[in-house]
Symmetry: none
Amino acid sequence: MWFQVDPRSSIPIYQQVIDGVKQSVAKAIVSPGDKLPSVRECASSMMLNPNTVAKAYQELERLGIIEVVRGRGTYVAQPTTPINREKRLSELRHSIKRLLIEAHHLQLDDDQLLDLFHQSMSEWHEEKGRHVL
Amino acid sequence: MWFQVDPRSSIPIYQQVIDGVKQSVAKAIVSPGDKLPSVRECASSMMLNPNTVAKAYQELERLGIIEVVRGRGTYVAQPTTPINREKRLSELRHSIKRLLIEAHHLQLDDDQLLDLFHQSMSEWHEEKGRHVL
Amino acid sequence: MWFQVDPRSSIPIYQQVIDGVKQSVAKAIVSPGDKLPSVRECASSMMLNPNTVAKAYQELERLGIIEVVRGRGTYVAQPTTPINREKRLSELRHSIKRLLIEAHHLQLDDDQLLDLFHQSMSEWHEEKGRHVL
Amino acid sequence: MWFQVDPRSSIPIYQQVIDGVKQSVAKAIVSPGDKLPSVRECASSMMLNPNTVAKAYQELERLGIIEVVRGRGTYVAQPTTPINREKRLSELRHSIKRLLIEAHHLQLDDDQLLDLFHQSMSEWHEEKGRHVL
DNA sequence: GTGGTCTAGACCACT
DNA sequence: GTGGTCTAGACCACC
């Protein structure tokens, strides 16, 4: 698989699977049309309960990120207009606000936070680029 | 109180209380040395169980954001070096990375995300300023 | 269980549970990776309320002594760099100072206190060894 | 006064007063026969509730460390055979054991703990000496 | 008055 | 099955 899960994390495993797939798609490690491992394969290769993987796949399908073709398998979906775009954008804004509050309590001023943000963007692009090579 | 909790949200109530107090401190609605409502007051005014509020207050104390004076009440603490700064910074970085991934799936490019970020910072400062007036 | 709690003691029960687990780990009665009884098991076998045990387990997790695996149970953690090492070291120093003061009021001179200390260390190692056999 | 109390500490204030007096006596800052400030004086000079100070004085008298002469005042007692010596010795042993367990979790080996102990004893004697000068 | 602890019992998310 | 959360209501230590 292209990502890992940590059963000891406080983040639910099914959520880690969702995040892992989303990250793999965003990094272009997998592309639209690519076949994903079946629930059973994924579960056994990552030592997870199939129910857990199934729950993650279900949510990923609901998000329009993957497509399940009955009897054929699961595929990365073609990007279209994101599902629930408005709602997710407002959640994104909310996440940013939480970031700002936490930054205040960590005594980061605006410039330091922006630095951190730019730095994270660079790292992210570098991570993506590293895969392409 | 200076914030609200939504009992129907999937975010635990005690976490909402923590976030609410953190936000109030960050906005300078309350300042170091100010007295917070007692556990019982807070609970009754927000229609929560005292235990729920107590749990939130205890976590806030652990974070060094509030201080408990035995038998007297609870006060906003003087800001000092943040507790677990390194760990929380790394969590902050992680949050930013999740932001980047989600932005990709919402088909926001870097400029659009940066716009959104700057815009949120402006709104945040405006919210803070609004209170001062 | 490998320890007992005294409900009539002035020491909070949850603290006694914390101390008991810490002692069991220090004595190597349980080792990293071992499974601890579930909150419910522990509570019923020691005639405590599950919430009380849960509170102790949560604090032990915060200390990095145990690990919770979601839906699976609780395990003794691999020892790593202790959490809040500096703070706890300073508390240790403080405890030693209290020991010195109390020793003075019990009219123990330095040599007698050191004897007592060495003696306690021997007993402690013997207790540990006894389990290994 | 010869010591301070921190109302924000988790240690009860009356206990801090007890510890403060015990420490002052152990350091010979005050000697047998010396007069202590009255409950009211002590309370007002340290900004405490008189009840709190009274509770501390009561416990100190029970320990045989001070003597209350009705209508005359409170005095440091002549050292005699310590009250409850056996019980307090066993508590001392118990404290040492807790020290050993905590040291294990802080990954201090026997030598390091002994070093710390010797070091604390030296500091203690130095603190005492500093007052004599 | 304050917060801290404990019990009892319920519901939920996760695996 | 596991732990996490929440409510309700009690008692206690402290100030």
